[in-house]
């Protein structure tokens, strides 16, 4: 009997990565702890998020058990459907709070940009795998176009946060696929040169966010309010924080969206610099583990995919903490594994599932 259980258990866990799973669990538990404070001890919120986590972990387990070569086959169809859906959103999408991001498919509303978070790195990795034999600049150019089409569509919705994350994940694939330094330098120069053009392409509210970042006090009750209040929360946390459930900025309602995008302000106010460094270390461990998996991945496709997933996770964390501490503009990027909300949690865990699949597949090959 116990052997049966052990065998079933072994079968169920053979594609899970222990160290990664452990660190994710610590981060998620931290998230529940912070959420309990940020929601002013709302049990429904915390239990709701707990259920989100269980769902996300289930998704992770499923994808950990999907062999990478299935993903290779799925990559282009996913990308194609994704772009089609983005076009559909642009044409028929529902406008909610001034942004056209959702598509009504009868049963429910879906947000195709969420799909592209994994769809883009999948497709680019698939493309480079196909042309592995002789990678030329031309291939990078094609890949760049494959990247820019969905990014442009998402920017137009507008959804700066998701666009940044997807553009980042695509760039990481290009970079890891060996985009030459000269091209990178050239692109950087061109980007700098076209800043004025990009500026004019931004929506008013996006421009406002950038301006606000440069000088939050110019509109302290309007656009600057989020940044000012979250920076105050972080700064007033001091070395060791005000203590769990004791943040005044948090509990007196000064931090907006404090369970979702600005949850880091709550964490930082209550746990201080010490807590921040611990959190940074945790993220760094997760990323390091991801990079180790990437380095050991068996094929170019898996290497690129694993690298993109890992570095996208970094992008989430960096952009969110930078935004809350007032060095990056306010874009809708949650703090991975900590912010309340099921969608981002599922898409992040889906990525980690793929990462685990790649990690364990390699081990299986070796044994």
């Amino acid at each position: 009997m116990s052997t049966v259980i052990r065998r079933i258990g072994g079968y169920a866990t053979r594609h899970l990565d222990g160290p990664l799973l452990g660190m994710l669990a610590v981060l998620m538990l931290t998230g529940l702890l912070v959420l309990y404070s940020a929601s002013s001890a709302s049990v429904p919120r915390v239990s709701g998020q707990f259920i989100n986590m269980l769902v996300a972990l289930a998704v992770m387990w499923v994808f950990a058990n999907v062999p990478p070569h299935y993903l290779l086959r799925l990559a282009f169809p996913v990308y194609f459907v994704g772009v089609a859906l983005l076009l559909a959103v642009a044409l028929f999408g529902e406008v909610i709070q001034g942004a056209r991001r959702w598509l009504d498919v009868g049963v429910t509303r879906i947000q195709p940009s969420e799909l592209m978070k994994i769809g883009v790195p999948l497709a680019l990795a698939w493309y480079f795998e196909r042309h592995e034999a002789a990678l030329k600049l031309r291939n990078h150019a094609v890949a760049a176009v494959m990247l820019l089409v969905p990014v442009a569509l998402i920017l137009r919705q507008p959804d700066l946060g998701t666009a940044v994350l997807i553009a980042g994940s695509g760039f990481f694939v290009l970079f890891l696929a060996g985009l030459s330094w000269r091209v990178i330098a050239g692109l950087a120069a061109a980007a700098l040169a076209s800043l004025p053009l990009a500026w004019s392409a931004l929506h008013d509210y996006q421009r406002q966010r950038v301006l606000t970042l440069l000088d939050p006090m110019q509109d302290p009750l309007g656009a600057g309010y989020h940044t000012i209040q979250s920076t105050i929360a972080v700064g007033s946390g001091g070395l060791f924080g005000k203590g769990w459930m004791n943040g005044t900025q948090t509990h007196l309602d000064f931090i907006p969206e404090r369970t979702t995008d600005f949850v880091f302000a709550v964490y930082s106010e209550e746990f201080g610099l010490f807590g921040n460094l611990v959190l940074l270390a945790l993220f760094l461990f997760v990323i390091s583990r991801g990079l180790v998996i990437t380095a050991n991945a068996p094929t170019l496709f898996t290497r690129l995919l694993a690298g993109a997933i890992t570095l996208t996770f970094f992008t989430y964390a960096f952009v969110n903490m930078g935004m809350v501490s007032g060095v990056l503009p306010v874009v809708g990027v949650p703090l991975p594994l900590i912010s309340y909300g099921g969608t981002s949690l599922v898409s992040i865990c889906l990525g980690f599932g793929i990462l685990m699949s790649i990690a364990t597949r390699k081990k299986l090959v070796q044994t």
């Binding site: 890891l176 105050i232 900025q249 610099l273 990323i287 960096f318 060095v327």
Partner: protein
Amino acid sequence: MSNGFEIRDSELELHQFRARLWVAAGFVFVMFGLLAARFVYLQVVKYDHYHTLAEANRISIVPVVPNRGIITDRNGVGIAHNYSAYTLEIRPGRVDDLEKLINELAAVVEIAPRDRRRFRRLLEESKNFESLPIRTRLTEEEIARFAANRYRFPAVEINARPFREYPHGELFAHVVGYIGRINERDVKQLEAAEQLSNYRGTDHIGKVGIEQSYERHLHGTTGMAKVEIDAAGRAIRSLSRVAPISGNNLVLTLDARLQEVAYNTFGEFRGALVAIDPRNGEVLAFVSKPGFDPNLFVDGIDAQSWSELINSPDKPMTNRALHGQYPPGSTIKPFMALAALTLGKRTPQYTINDPGFFTLPGVSHQWRDWKKGGHGAVDLHKSIVVSCDTYYYGLANDLGIDNIHNYLSQFGFGARTGIDIEGEAIGILPSQQWKQRRFKQKWFVGDTISVGIGQGYMTATPLQLAHATAIIANGGNVVRPHLVQHVQDSRTLQLQSIARPSAPSLEIRADFLGRVQNALVDVLRPGGTAARSGAGASYPFAGKTGTSQVIAIKPGERYDAAKVHERHRDHALFIAYAPAENPVIALAVLVENGGSGSSTAAPIARQVLDYYLLGRDPQPLRRGKEEPDEHRD
């Protein structure tokens, strides 16, 4: 797939890939390092700054308004007090359609048109988004009804607030005054007096009367509460508190019952009465009739009530006692007599023969006596008792205007008495200089003659007359009239007197004063102008009648009260003090369009004195019921 070249190639590729991965790892590390540096900067270097900001966010200093001091009369009868009541208040800043909201509210709680008008007025006056009362003094039932519907009105709230109430209504309106909502002018004055911070949270301030002049005592010291607030500004909990210090209470010199008696005795007449204790200047009664209800002003008077008050022909907003300036008429004669004796222009025995008029050499104009045919032989005593005009025409001419001015000014004419409320009028005590300044004209001898009987250019307020009468009553002591007897400290409940500068006494020879005082007593005896009012008095009292013209009577015409429009009838005046020996009350009565002093003013004075000295209840005067005038004075 497995030849050596390709393996080498793919190993090279892997090597290259791992190099890129190292770069990425380095990038991650550097970026996290920058974040860590940012955290150190915010949480260590700038910690004090952000700590202060967070504290400033959460802590609000809320003023705690002190209770305003209460005002009682000399016997402890309440004249102005506070009570707590529930008000229904709207925050206009949170409402789009005020009219609609008020209509919806009216279905729940009764809102009279008057409430709407007052609310609109408040709305115009207030610039900030504070909450403004739409209804005050809610009943328990109304509170319950609103509470049941509260969810429908997020911008409406019920607050318990202290209210000022004047239980006697119009009785003390002109002396105690009222408080009203602080306006821009008040703010400027408070700022100039460096008192503005003490008025944080205070809505009301004394506007007129004692409420205004004793504002400093009544208001108290505002306390402070440190309160933790949330981002919406709602108070979450109290952190610390400095209790406010209540305003001091005032004990007035007024006698509420006497005030009421005096007010009611006027009946349907308009007028003023000021009664002073001649021993110390305490004002016992201070009446200006008609009054108005000061309670209307506390929370902003509505436009219609205001317009009614301001447009009423009875002018209820005019403080006749303090600001009404009337020719003193014959009530000036005792003072003229003292001037004549003191300056040696007349002896008590000097006698004139009164033909019923006075003429100046070389002037055709006749100054007529009120009595056709004259009073015959008239000496100083008789001149007062029968109020002989001719005697005083000649006397004024002999004294000259500047002597009159200088002597009468010692009795406070033409100057403020220094009473402790603002807005006092000074009347006119004419002189050559005054006319030059006022009309850029020379003084003519003829101008002097009518000043001798308190007409012509001369005017005085009822308060000035009462003040001057008190000086005759007390033997020459200039006592400053005042309304506040004591200030009661709100904490220790100890009574403090108010230091008042004492005025110099007048040097009046006792025998001169005695003669005039005797004559004033005889005014109320048979043969005197006010004999009817003196009849049957169980205490001796002194008085002088007076009549002041409202319209000029053309030469050759005689005044006939019956033919003159009621509002053009003469004003009746009477000054008095009692008892004649050691007087305890001196007063001046003015009855607007009352006819003659003897017919209306003197009876009022008698009733007030009877009440004050004997405790006898008065009978209000009725217009038209008085007997026909024997004489105008």
